[in-house]
C-alpha cells in the first residue's frame, strides 16, 4: 500500500509508458538488448560527405526515412515513433486523444542547407546577394518550408497527431532539455493542473553545420577510427563527445490516476532539480557549486539522502572537462559513497543525443530499475586515475537498484537532475 502523495504532500508522479529510439535501434526491447550487450551505435557518417571535417562519425539514426529530408523533419518523425510506443504501452486515453499537455524538448530550428541551396540554385545566376535570395523566397513556392522551420512546428504536429491538450510547449535547455521536459510534466501534475502529461525529447541534428559548430568549439571527439571506440567516458584518453540522434517519450501520470485506471507503473519520478550556472557560456563554475546545488536540490525534492541512491546514470559526455567536473561535484554531494555507487554513461554506446539525452537516459535508468541490471560504459580500457567512480566498465552488471540519479548538464549554465525509483517512496 503506497500513499498517492509524497513526503511534501504533492501527488506522486509515475511513469506508465515509454518509447525510445537511438542509433542502436527502435524501441525499448532492441535498445535494451544492445545496451546491456555493450554494443555501440556510433558509425562513420554516410548521410553527407565528411571530407574536410575533423570528426567524421556520429550516432546517426539512419533507419528512419524522411522525405524531403531535414533535421527538423527527422526530429519530428522520431518523436512521433517514440510517442506511439509510449502510448501503446501506457494504454491511456483514446486514439488521437491524450488527456494532458505535451512538453517537447527539441533542438533549435532554422532553415537548413539543402533548402538554402535550393534557393541559391533558384536564383539562376552565378553572382548574387542575399537580397536576391530574399526576392525569390515568396510567392508560395516554398510555403512548406515556412511551416517546417517554425520553432513550434514539431510540437504542433505532435499535438495534433496525438490530441494532447492545450498549448504544447517546445523547450530548449541545451543538453539538459530532455530532463527539463520531464520536470515540466512533473510540476504540472504536482500542481494538480493535469493527471497526465506527455514528455517527449528528440534530436535529429547530425548535419554538416551542427557538426562544424561543435567542432569549432573543440567539443567533439576526433578518434574517428574505429568509430565505435570514440566515446570514452571516464577514460584517461577521452577527447570529447560524439554527436548522436535519438528520441524518448514518457507518459507521466499521478499515482492516483494511474492506479485508478489499473495502469502498470513502470517507475516513479521521485525528484527533479535544476540550478543555473552563471559562470561561463560553455564551462562550469570551477568550484562546481551550481552542479552540487542541483544534485542537492534534487535529493531534497525527492526527500532522499545520498545513501538512498544506489546508481548514477551520469551525464558522462566524455569531454575532458565534463567528466572531471561531474566526478568532483558528485564527490562533494556523496562523500565517501562516491567510490561505492555504480556509475555508468550510456553515451559510451549511443553517443550524446543532445536535446533528447535527458529523456533517453531517464528511460534507460527506468529500464535499469526494471531489469536490475546496469548497462556498461564501454571503451573503458584506460580509466582516468583521478576519477574514482565505480564505473560499470565494459560489461553490464547485475545489481540491486532502487533509486537512480540521472544528470544532465548543458551549455548556457543548464544543470538538471532527476531521481527515478521503482516504487513510490
Amino acid at each position: 500500500m503506497t500513499a498517492p502523495r509524497d513526503k511534501l504532500g504533492r501527488p506522486v508522479v509515475v511513469v506508465t509508458g515509454m518509447g525510445i529510439m537511438t542509433s542502436l535501434g527502435n524501441g525499448k526491447a532492441d535498445n535494451w538488448a544492445k545496451l546491456v550487450a555493450g554494443e555501440s551505435g556510433i558509425r562513420t557518417i554516410t548521410r553527407f560527405p565528411v571530407d574536410g571535417l575533423r570528426t567524421t562519425m556520429a550516432g546517426t539514426v539512419d533507419f528512419v526515412s524522411v522525405d524531403p529530408f531535414s533535421s527538423t523533419g527527422l526530429s519530428e518523425r522520431m518523436a512521433e515513433l517514440v510517442t506511439e510506443e509510449a502510448l501503446a504501452q501506457a494504454g491511456i486515453g483514446a486514439k488521437a486523444d491524450f488527456p494532458g499537455p505535451l512538453f517537447l524538448a527539441v533542438a533549435p530550428v532554422e532553415v537548413e542547407w539543402p533548402q538554402r541551396r535550393e534557393l541559391g540554385r533558384a536564383v539562376g545566376a552565378q553572382d548574387f546577394t542575399y537580397d536576391d535570395l530574399l526576392r525569390i523566397s515568396g510567392g508560395g513556392k516554398y510555403s512548406a518550408y515556412h511551416h517546417r522551420f517554425m520553432f513550434g512546428s514539431v510540437a504542433a504536429h505532435l499535438a495534433e497527431t496525438f490530441g494532447t491538450k492545450g498549448s504544447p510547449i517546445s523547450l530548449s535547455t541545451a543538453c539538459a532539455s530532455g530532463a527539463t521536459s520531464i520536470q515540466l510534466g512533473v510540476e504540472a501534475i504536482r500542481r494538480g493542473e493535469t493527471d497526465a502529461a506527455l514528455c517527449v525529447a528528440t534530436d535529429g541534428t547530425v548535419n554538416p553545420e551542427a557538426l562544424v559548430r561543435f567542432s569549432l568549439l573543440s567539443a567533439l571527439s576526433t578518434q574517428n577510427d574505429p568509430p565505435q571506440a570514440a566515446s570514452r567516458p571516464f577514460s584517461k584518453n577521452r577527447d570529447g563527445f560524439v554527436m548522436a540522434e535519438g528520441a524518448g517519450a514518457l507518459v507521466l501520470e499521478s499515482y492516483e490516476a494511474a492506479t485508478a485506471r489499473g495502469a502498470k507503473i513502470l517507475g516513479v519520478i521521485a525528484g527533479c532539480g535544476e540550478l543555473t550556472d552563471s559562470f561561463h557560456r560553455t564551462r562550469s563554475s570551477p568550484d562546481g557549486k551550481p552542479i552540487i546545488g542541483c544534485m542537492n536540490k534534487t535529493l531534497a525534492d525527492a526527500g532522499m539522502t545520498p545513501d538512498q541512491i544506489d546508481h548514477i546514470n551520469a551525464h558522462g559526455t566524455a569531454t575532458p572537462e565534463n567528466d572531471k567536473m561531474e566526478y568532483n561535484t558528485t564527490s562533494a554531494v556523496f562523500g565517501d559513497l562516491v567510490t561505492k555507487i555504480p556509475v555508468t554513461s550510456n553515451k559510451s554506446m549511443v553517443g550524446h543525443t543532445i536535446s533528447a539525452a535527458g529523456a533517453v537516459e531517464a528511460i534507460f535508468s527506468l529500464l535499469t530499475l526494471e531489469h536490475q541490471r546496469i548497462p556498461p560504459t564501454i571503451n573503458y580500457d584506460n580509466p582516468d586515475p583521478t576519477i574514482l567512480f565505480d564505473v560499470v566498465g565494459n560489461k553490464a552488471r547485475d545489481a540491486r537498484v532502487t533509486a537512480v540519479m540521472s544528470n544532465s548538464f548543458g551549455f548556457g549554465g543548464q544543470n538538471a537532475s532527476l531521481i527515478l525509483t521503482r516504487e513510490p517512496a
Binding site: P49, V50, D51, G52, L53, P108, E110, V111, W113, L119, G120, R121, D127, F128, Y130, S137, G138, Y142, H146, H147, F149, M150, F151, G152, A156, A159, E160, K165, G166, S167, I169, L171, S172, T173, A174, T180, L184, E187, A188, R191, E193, P208, E209, V212, R213, S215, L216, L217, E274, L275, T276, S278, H280, R281, T282, G293, G410, F411, G412, Q414
Partner: protein, 401 residues
Amino acid sequence: MTDTPAKPGQTEVWITGIGLATSLGEGLDANWAALQEKRINVDEKGFAPFVVHPLMPVTFDSQIPKKGDQRQMEAWQRIGVYAAGLALDSAGIKGNKDILSKIDMVVAAGGGERDLNVDTGVLTAEAKGANAPGFLNERLMSDLRPTLFLAQLSNLLAGNIAIVNGLGGTSRTFMGEEVAGADAARIALSRIASGESDIALVGGSHNGERKDLMVLYEFGDFNLKDKFAPVWARKDHAGFALGSAGAFLVLESKAHAEARGAKPYAKLSSVVTDLARRKQSGDMEATLEKLWAKLPKREGKGAIISGATGAEPATSEEHGFLKGHADFPVRATGTMFGHTMETQFPLGLALAALSISRGALFPPNDSTGTEIEMQGAPTQIVVVGAGHWRGEGMALVEAVK
C-alpha cells in the same frame, strides 16, 4: 486547454519590474511618451521592399558592462540582456545577490542571426561550379566564427542574462514563436501561484532587422511590403513588419514583494493558452472565445491589448473576435512596435501593467475605427496574443486593490 486559474489559496502574483528596449526607445518613460505622441519608428527603405521597426539605439554598456560579454552575443541577445537588466533595475533587485541567486527565469526565444556573408559566399561559389564533396564542410570550418554558435543557440539568451546579472535559480527557454511568450508567462505564473517559486524573470527579445528571418517568413508570404499601415488597415495589403524589441517582467508573489517593500505595477491574474487547429475559417476565433471565457470575471474598467500581427487570415479572425467585445477599447502593439514574434506577448503584458500603473490606456493609433478612445483609468486589461501561424494566448492584468 491549459491555464492558470486563480484558485483559492493560491498566492497573488505581482508584476514588480518591467524592462523595455524597443523601436520607440528604452525604458518606461520613453516608451510611454512615444505612445502618447503616437510616434512610430518605421523604416520602409533599409530593407526595402520589407518594412521594419528598428531598435532605437541604446548604449549597451549600461546593462552589459563587459565588452567581452557584448562580443559573445548577437543583437537579439544583447537586446534581451539589456531589457532584462532594465527589468531587474525596475524591480529594485539589480545586484541583490540573495534574490538573484534564486530567481527563476522563463525566456521565450527564437534563434540567433546567421552570418549572411558566409551563407552567400557558399551559395555563390556553388553557383560558379564548386562541387567537391567536402566543399560546404571546408567553407564552414574555415569561415564560421567559433563563438557564433553560442550567439545563435536559443537558450543562450537566458544563459547570457544569467552570466551578466549573476542569476542562479532555474532557467528555462521556450521556443515556438508568438505563443512561446505566453506560455513562458503562464508557467512562471503557475509556479509562483502554487508556491513552487517566489520570484521570476520572464520575457523575450527579438531582432527584426534580419534578412535571414525575412527569408523564412517570405516563404509563407508573411512580410509586410512597401508601405506601412496600422495593423487593422492591412486587410488588402496583409503582412507583418518585423520589429526589434526586448521585453522582460519581474513576477513576484505578493508576500515576497511585500517583505522587501516592493511596489507592484499591477497583478498578473491569469494566463491561458491553446493551439487551435486552424483547419477551417473560424477555428481560431472560436479558440480565442474559449480562452476569453476562461479568464477570471471582468468587472472593472477593461481594455484589450492585442498582439495581432497584420498577417492573414489570423488578423481577420482576431478582428472578428474583438468585434464581439466591442465595449473594450483595443490597442494593437503591432502598429506601434512592429511584430516582435516571441516578445510580442511579454511586450503586451508590460504595456498592460504600465497602463494600469499610470492610470490611463495609451491613445489609439488606427485609421479603421477598431481602436477607440478610453476615458478614465483601466483596472483590467486583457492581453491577446494569436500567432501568425499557430498558437493562441491570453492574459488578464489587473490593478492591485
